[in-house]
């Protein structure tokens, strides 16, 4: 049963609200896409081939080769019900694609949930490392080590000119997607965000919602990632993302400072109004919850709200998602029932004292 602990406890390491620049960068993520040579990509693989790919890749984890990096569990997707899969998506441990469509899909998950390795997603192997705060280099180093471990015993589809061959032409080459999830209420409130986002896209980076491609921006959370995977080395890709993210962090800090100096009263009113509503409301829908949690998180980061920790907020962003709520309360709920439970959960968490005196 320990394999299913991911569905029970809310806190992955990346949600701890710690790490460098964690007032703005929620998490840093590296994903590496790899395929085995000699097998069609998962989309066209026969059941037999998909099963063989799964067996080969999970065998690497079972052989103990990863044990130097922590404890890992292998979880075949077929063993999980719909709700458990959804919780994994909400915790950013697997992609919606793996949850919904994969044949012979599997997840190899580290016990602190900072490494999740997807088998038979769009590509045969997707190694994901997720760190709290701004630690994109650290995430890359770990992902690359895991990549080396798999490569020791499996033949990757690799071409001298095209690099690592992937199912989608947007991943070919390095196969890496490096991304940082950033909380940018200052830039949104001071209306600088559109200018900055369009500048970001000019330098080969993309901006997405927090649940990845195709998802909406919620609660002022933006995911900035590299768009280019071919023709730049991994180091260049990460360096580019790092320096752009560093600049966004500075702009965000400046915007927050300016708001404090120029319109403190209005800012405090907004933050404490949201805090008041979340502490007392009985019905909160997901959109309102995301927006108000963002306000409260800003209040915590600015030192205006002292009796709640940033960790609570990161947790809440995940725990108030539909799948997680239903898992937590162990009942199937209509959207209206979820709004009631969501409000209940947030009230309870906000009245709870910080775990270790805040971060």
């Amino acid at each position: 049963m320990s394999k299913r602990s991911f569905a029970r406890h809310a806190l992955s390491d990346w949600m701890k609200g710690t790490g460098p620049d964690s007032d703005i960068v929620i998490s840093s993520r590296i994903r590496i896409a790899r395929n085995l040579s000699g097998f069609p990509f998962p989309m066209l693989a026969t059941n037999q081939q998909a099963r063989e790919v799964m067996e080969r890749l999970t065998a690497v984890a079972e052989s103990g080769r990863l044990s130097g990096l922590g404890h890992f569990d292998t979880i075949p997707l077929s063993e999980l019900n719909e709700l458990e899969r959804r919780v994994l998506v909400e915790k950013h441990l697997i992609s919606p694609n793996l949850a919904n469509e994969s044949r012979c899909g599997a997840l190899i998950l580290s016990s602190n949930e900072s490494v999740s390795i997807m088998v038979n997603e769009e590509d045969h192997l997707r190694i994901q490392c997720l760190y709290p705060g701004f630690q994109i280099n650290e995430a890359w180093e770990l992902a690359s080590r895991i990549d080396d471990i798999f490569e020791e015993v499996t033949d990757y589809a690799f071409d001298e000119h095209r690099g690592y061959l992937t199912s989608c032409p947007t991943n070919v080459g390095t196969g890496i997607r490096a991304s940082v999830m950033m909380h940018l209420p200052g830039l949104v409130l001071t209306q600088q965000i559109n200018r900055i986002l369009s500048a970001i896209t000019q330098v080969g980076l993309a901006v997405r919602g927090i649940y990845g491609e195709g998802s909406e921006v919620q609660g002022n959370l933006f995911q900035v990632s590299n768009q280019i995977t071919l023709g730049q080395s991994e180091g260049e890709i990460i360096e580019n993302l790092f320096s752009v993210a560093k600049q966004i962090i500075e702009h965000e800090r400046a915007a927050r400072q300016r708001m404090l100096e120029e319109s403190r009263l209005r800012l405090e009113d907004r933050i404490f109004r949201s805090y008041g509503i979340l502490s007392n409301a009985f019905i909160v829908d997901s959109k309102e919850s995301a927006q108000r949690l963002s306000d409260v998180r800003l209040g915590i980061d600015l030192g205006l709200i002292e009796d709640a920790s940033p960790q609570v907020m990161n947790e809440m962003m995940v725990m108030t998602q539909p799948g997680f709520l239903q898992q937590l309360f162990e009942e199937k709920m209509s959207p209206e029932q979820r709004d009631v439970r969501r409000a209940e959960l947030i009230r309870r968490q906000l009245h709870r004292k910080p775990d270790h005196g805040g971060a």
Partner: protein
């Protein structure tokens, strides 16, 4: 990255749409987006994403459109059976052999998506041994030339021997 519509201005809007697991990405500039009307993500039937992506993948370098598309209808990967027409519709390869099979047709696509066509990053340690060896030999040759220019003949001789050794290894495969 250049706008897929006007092919002139830089693309500043990047969208991905997933319909029944079919993923499509497109990149356009703001004025084309405005011209096309609503059609931005979230709105149902505006901008035809499929036509955009197909437009991107059907891109035929040099050849006339008619002859090109006839040829492209029949182009098929022997290993997995995916046709080029299916590839342009889905935007995904069926297997790693597709890259070789669709060969030169990919350069303009990759160029548009990445601005580049050649990998310069990590190489697998084990299976990529030969490529690593090749990169290593190239580096040693550069070092060798430098030593010769500097008239450091003793270290140049050492480098020469190293290169020979590596070349022998490479030849053995």
């Amino acid at each position: 990255m250049i706008c897929q519509e006007c092919e002139k201005r830089p693309a500043t809007l990047h969208f991905t749409k997933i319909v029944n697991g079919e993923k499509t990405e497109f990149h356009i500039c703001e004025s084309c987006a405005r011209e096309k009307g609503e059609g931005l993500p979230g709105t149902a039937n505006g901008f035809s994403i499929h036509s955009l992506l197909s437009g991107l993948l059907d891109f035929e370098p040099g050849g006339t459109a008619g002859a090109g598309s006839a040829k492209q209808q029949t182009l098929r990967c022997d290993a997995c059976g995916l046709t080029y027409a299916q590839f342009s519709k889905m935007g995904r390869f069926g297997c790693s052999q597709c890259y070789a099979k669709f060969g030169d047709k990919l350069d303009p696509i990759l160029k548009r998506v990445h601005g580049n066509t050649v990998h310069t990053g990590k190489v697998p340690k084990r299976s990529g041994g030969k490529i690593k060896l090749k990169r290593q030999i190239e580096q040693l040759r550069r070092d060798l030339n430098e030593q010769i220019v500097r008239e450091e003949f003793e270290s140049a001789a050492k480098l020469r021997d190293q290169i020979r050794e590596l070349e022998r290894k490479a030849a053995e495969g």
